[in-house]
Symmetry: C2
Subunit: 93 residues, 2 copies
């Protein structure tokens, strides 16, 4: 399945650490396309593994991660306005 | 078609103004689900109108907007880790 993952993490309570870890974990599984946006093809087990790794770092009262899942990448078209930053930003951390 | 719009706007060169305008324009067409993430059902003409309104505010050398388009919302599943912020954040500006 094709996955788009977006996150909005609070800077409160040592948020920088959460940011670093969530970024690193997502990078292992997906392509970084924009500051807090990742995308890529994952199997169900890979998605479960990604979620399990992320789970300990996400603070339910502060953070939000949305995972959009699409059964087939061909059903998903993509357009840019402005820059295409795919993996230009991967050296953020 | 079902649209997911994500943006990453630079704070340089009066970026706050760009942020305000891009946010307001997106809110007219889509639901705000996370800090820089919007989603919703649009016709092709509505999408063209949204892009035309956004175009003057996006600085090609600084900003990035990605529009994911899905022919059918039923092909798209959504999961949350942490908070579901759908429209909780709509009073940001």
């Amino acid at each position: 399945m094709y996955v788009i993952l977006v996150y909005d993490l609070s800077q409160e309570r040592n948020g920088a650490k959460t940011q670093r870890w969530v970024f690193k974990i997502c990078k292992k599984y997906l392509t970084h396309v924009q500051f807090s946006v990742f995308e890529g093809e994952l199997s169900q087990s890979q998605l479960e593994a990604l979620k399990a790794e992320l789970r300990p770092f996400v603070r339910d009262d502060l953070d939000s991660i949305i995972i959009f899942k699409n059964q087939n990448k061909n059903w998903l078209k993509k357009e840019y306005i402005g820059q295409d930053r795919e993996d230009l930003t991967s050296n953020i951390f």
